[in-house]
Subunit: 259 residues, 2 copies
Amino acid sequence: MKNYRLFVAESSAKPLSMRSQKKTGVACSQCNLSEICVPAGLSRDAIHQFEQIVHKSPTLHAGDHVFRQGDSFTTVAAVRSGCFKSYVIDEDGNEQVLGFHLPGELLGLDAIYPKKHVCNVIALDTGGVCNLSYEELQELSINLPDLQSQLFSTMSQRIGELNTIAGAYSADQRMAAFLLALSLRFESRGYSARSFNLVMSRSEIANYLRLATETVSRVLTGFRTKGLIRVKRKLVEILDHESLHEVAGSAFCKLENSI
Amino acid sequence: MKNYRLFVAESSAKPLSMRSQKKTGVACSQCNLSEICVPAGLSRDAIHQFEQIVHKSPTLHAGDHVFRQGDSFTTVAAVRSGCFKSYVIDEDGNEQVLGFHLPGELLGLDAIYPKKHVCNVIALDTGGVCNLSYEELQELSINLPDLQSQLFSTMSQRIGELNTIAGAYSADQRMAAFLLALSLRFESRGYSARSFNLVMSRSEIANYLRLATETVSRVLTGFRTKGLIRVKRKLVEILDHESLHEVAGSAFCKLENSI
DNA sequence: CGGCAAATTGACTCCACTCAAAGGAGGTGG
DNA sequence: CCACCTCCTTTGAGTGGAGTCAATTTGCCG
């Protein structure tokens, strides 16, 4: 199953996600993500109002940025399809991966307080986002209490996820938890929980988990020899979910809260 | 100071912060935290409305819990005075410190999504909190757009802070960043940025920074011999802010966003 | 088929952890 | 008021897990 991997043909070096937006044709109620995306839990009528502020981005290709560190903050974005990576470049020029984002997840929430984007978000494969003007979102939230609580909830969720990532865990625990969390997220989006493609490279995983690339490779090999998983390049198959869960230990139990 | 260890004298098993609350006498407009607490940026009239939903807790002593992992989520709490620690106990029984919280900061935001408290919050010294019913807070936010955006902003701020803690930094970097961040937070609350008391123990700092207690001790000694700080027990004096900043490197630059 | 980047594997190093023991500081009781 | 006890902190010695450096190997794509 190729799941979320889309074909990377077409013209590259696309414009930013904001430009040439199509307001029309956005129908959250028709979207198969409606259960896990922002409009989750909204009434039929509320969703209709919500649809009015959704600005569909053009197709984004691997390497296209949704926004960059330092950009002025005007919109948050919900992943419509594809996989995105958020990262920062620190003052030493080192990249630091903050997260991988699947369809239905909100991007740019950490920019609300500083009023400018503090991280970069880049497409890892072909996909698209729905842009939401933060101003409009705020206004609408005032009329739609459900939307407001949905937003609070989403941000709370991210706080919970970060609490977990920040934990002090071994390389094995981190990797196991990472695979299990990914599996769960794919499942909730209708893909196979047992076998999936890693869109991101080993070094991106390593960076996200605060490990060295070589360590990620070694840990995966270790899991394979123990019969926990099957790995072939990007394709991962979970063979022994039970044991993997044991390895992850407390590194995963909390991630379960954050789909 | 016994920090989180409950002294078994007195009527132990103290009442929760929620009980015997005094609704009266809460005047955010008179509070010296109004600049950095929840009502920051609200109009005079809005603050008055806000005051109606603030429930002042009785005085809390070192070891008293504000709420515990698993508690049903009904309120968030703003620190009024004192220093608090949030932590979780993982399935192996290990404590994991998530943060230290000074006056003006909001507690319990990570509970919104799961609808129950996912961490424990305990007083490190004598202090108090202002409890805010989340339901009332949501309702009020609908009428007070400024309050809503203040809440979004606060949560965003916490997300930014966590992004930093989650980073891959050396023991020296973490410790330096921790001291600088604390210094800044004290300063914005009207205390000295140059010399302050660590309310928390070495082991709590270590746990928070994902280091061993001995490492914290060694790093502090190292900083002292290099003339960066003066340390005597809990008292810390920052002698060479410049160099400390250099040591912290990129571990701190981001923390600056999160007062 | 050749060139290139990603991934794996191996050898070695080092930072931070663990184990262990020796100082302080503060509190308690005689 | 002092002695004692306990807990926190510091310091030392040794270990180990993950990082670094380096050499292949693998797969991709022109």
